[in-house]
């Protein structure tokens, strides 16, 4: 009873206060809305602890059961442990334990600069390879819709570089709208914008509907399966 009722009451009260505080930003709703936002920020800090615990739990389980790819989990946990210890004890920090954790010259800063940053950039850069390979295999003018998409992609790819301007620079000013950068801009600001706005309105209506269901206690999945 309590496990279900109390969370429902909290959700209802917080939800209603936040909605009302948006339209009536005066006392007591304005202050309460601000307080609830601060509570949210404080609670979100605990997500880091939960995230760390979850990481250890999932990868520890994978290693102990020797599941396929357990070696990667070991590397992940080792990286997590080393970074955590080095950061918490501020090892190699020129100012010792009193110094800032990101102080230049500290081991934590070195891990960040020489391991984390290049690895992150490398992972992001791999996207270029997948985009190129996928474009070659999947971007085919199979029907009208695919052809429109293909033409739009060509305009954006060319329009986002110097090549686009170069290829159509010879067009007279009266036909400036046909220059590739202008066409690319038109694609972004007209069809793309209309589509994006339509999507946003749809998504917003969905969010309002789901939020109302949560606030009114109609949607209870977040309480867990045994609370149905």
């Amino acid at each position: 009873m309590l496990r279900r009722t109390i969370p429902l009451i909290i959700t209802f009260v917080v939800g209603m206060v936040l909605v009302i505080s948006f339209f009536i930003p005066h006392k007591p709703f304005g202050t309460l809305g601000e307080d609830f936002s601060v509570f949210f920020d404080i609670i979100s800090v605990f997500a880091f602890v939960l995230g760390g615990g979850n990481l250890v739990w999932i990868h520890g389980d994978k290693i102990s059961k020797r599941r396929p790819g357990w070696g990667y989990s070991a590397v992940c946990l080792a990286g997590f442990a080393v970074t955590l210890v080095v950061g918490m004890l501020k090892l190699g920090n020129p100012w010792g334990i009193q110094g800032d954790v990101t102080e230049a010259g500290s081991m934590f800063d070195s891990i960040y600069m020489y391991i984390f940053t290049p690895l992150s950039s490398t992972m992001f850069a791999l996207l270029a390879y997948y985009v190129a390979s996928a474009s070659y295999r999947a971007f085919r003018a199979k029907n009208l819709e695919a052809t429109i998409l293909l033409v739009a992609a060509f305009l954006i790819l060319l329009g986002r570089t110097f090549t686009g301007a170069l290829l159509t620079a010879w067009l007279p000013d009266s036909l400036a709208f046909l220059r590739i950068p202008n066409l690319a801009n038109w694609v972004m600001m007209t069809p793309n914008l209309s589509g994006q706005r339509a999507l946003m309105i749809g998504i917003s209506l969905g969010i309002i509907s789901t939020s109302l269901k949560l606030i009114l206690g109609i949607e209870r999945n977040y309480l867990g399966a045994d609370n149905e």
Partner: protein, 320 residues
């Protein structure tokens, strides 16, 4: 049966595509291939907005990105900070992403190093000219709180100094205390959340810098809720070009003469790079991006040609 040239191209191993992409990025980097940038009206609007603010204006810059998106977003962040320092605006750095705090430190340090070489004797003092209040967890919740009261969440800066002891924090109450907000973001939370929870309710102009993938999602907010969007490297390169042409070129030329290295041609950038530590990362990285785009276009064209040839052959084989 041995494959003909057509079949070889049609069934090309994706490792060849990877090789071409690698070469299209590496070779322009090695040979420093880059092209002139023509700023678009939207980028000019952003530049004019920052440039039209009087000296001493408060500019809040949110560094919500991490090392993964740093190559794409850092150039525009550096260009903005340089522009603000040149205009003597006061810079307030913060982050909604955990690693954004470090991004802010790196960006501001790089910009300050350059400005000090350009304007020797100029003092850029922490706490007076710029401050870094760092990262706070809570995503849009952080924006919602600082909308009404900044000190509730940000009682100290990244060095642990109470904000009441920081001279430039005097008079800063909430988001309404700022003249413009610049959001450099690679996703959630980022520019979209700033519009919804920060700049729009506070009535403060917002400028967005996004990755190229994110930029189309920001356009619905332009021009009423955003001054403009710098999209990816292209946007960064255009902004760099504007700052260079309208602000730096004359200053750098003068400084190079003082140093005894008078520029011989109109382009002072290479000499400034050598003697003043000036970087144009956006413009330089657009070279590889341009060539890589062309390579992708060529592959897409080849893929479509083979597709149509196959379809024609299949139709011919089909009994009528």
């Amino acid at each position: 049966m041995a494959k003909g040239w057509y079949e070889r191209i049609r069934d090309i191993d994706r490792r060849w595509i990877f090789l071409f992409i690698t070469l299209s990025v590496v070779l322009p980097l090695i040979f420093q291939v880059y092209f002139a940038e023509i700023p678009t009206p939207m980028v000019e609007q952003i530049f004019d907005k920052i440039d039209s603010l009087p000296a001493g204006s408060r500019v809040l810059i949110d560094f919500s990105y991490d090392p993964a998106s740093m190559p794409e977003l850092q150039p525009m962040a550096v260009a903005w900070v340089r522009h603000c320092l040149l205009k003597r605006h006061r810079i307030y750095a913060m982050a909604l992403w955990p690693l954004g705090q470090q991004m802010a430190v790196d960006t501001i340090n790089e910009a300050i190093d350059f400005i000090k070489k350009l304007e020797p004797g100029r003092e850029i003092v922490y706490g007076i000219d710029y401050v870094n209040i760092g990262y706070k967890s809570g995503q849009q919740g952080v924006i919602k709180v600082v909308l009404t009261n900044l000190e509730t969440l940000y009682s100290t800066d990244i060095n642990g100094a109470h904000i009441s002891k920081i001279p430039m924090m005097s008079g800063v109450v909430n988001l309404k205390s700022f003249d413009v907000i610049i959001s450099v973001s690679a996703g959630y939370p980022g520019s979209k959340e700033w519009v919804q929870f920060g700049s729009d309710p506070a009535g403060v102009p917002l400028v967005s810098g996004s990755t190229a993938v994110q930029a189309p999602l920001m356009y619905p907010y332009y021009p009423r809720q955003m001054v403009g969007v710098l999209g990816g490297l292209k946007g960064a390169a255009e902004y760099e070009q504007l700052v260079y042409e309208r602000k730096l070129k004359a200053l750098m030329g003068k400084r190079l003469v003082e140093l005894g290295h008078p520029p011989r041609d109109a382009d002072v950038a290479p000499l400034a790079e050598q003697y003043l530590g000036y970087t144009q990362l956006g413009i330089k990285r657009m070279g590889p991006q341009t060539v890589a785009h062309l390579v992708i276009i060529i592959f897409v064209v080849i893929g479509n040609v083979t597709f149509f040839i196959d379809r024609r052959r299949a139709r011919k084989r089909r009994p009528s």
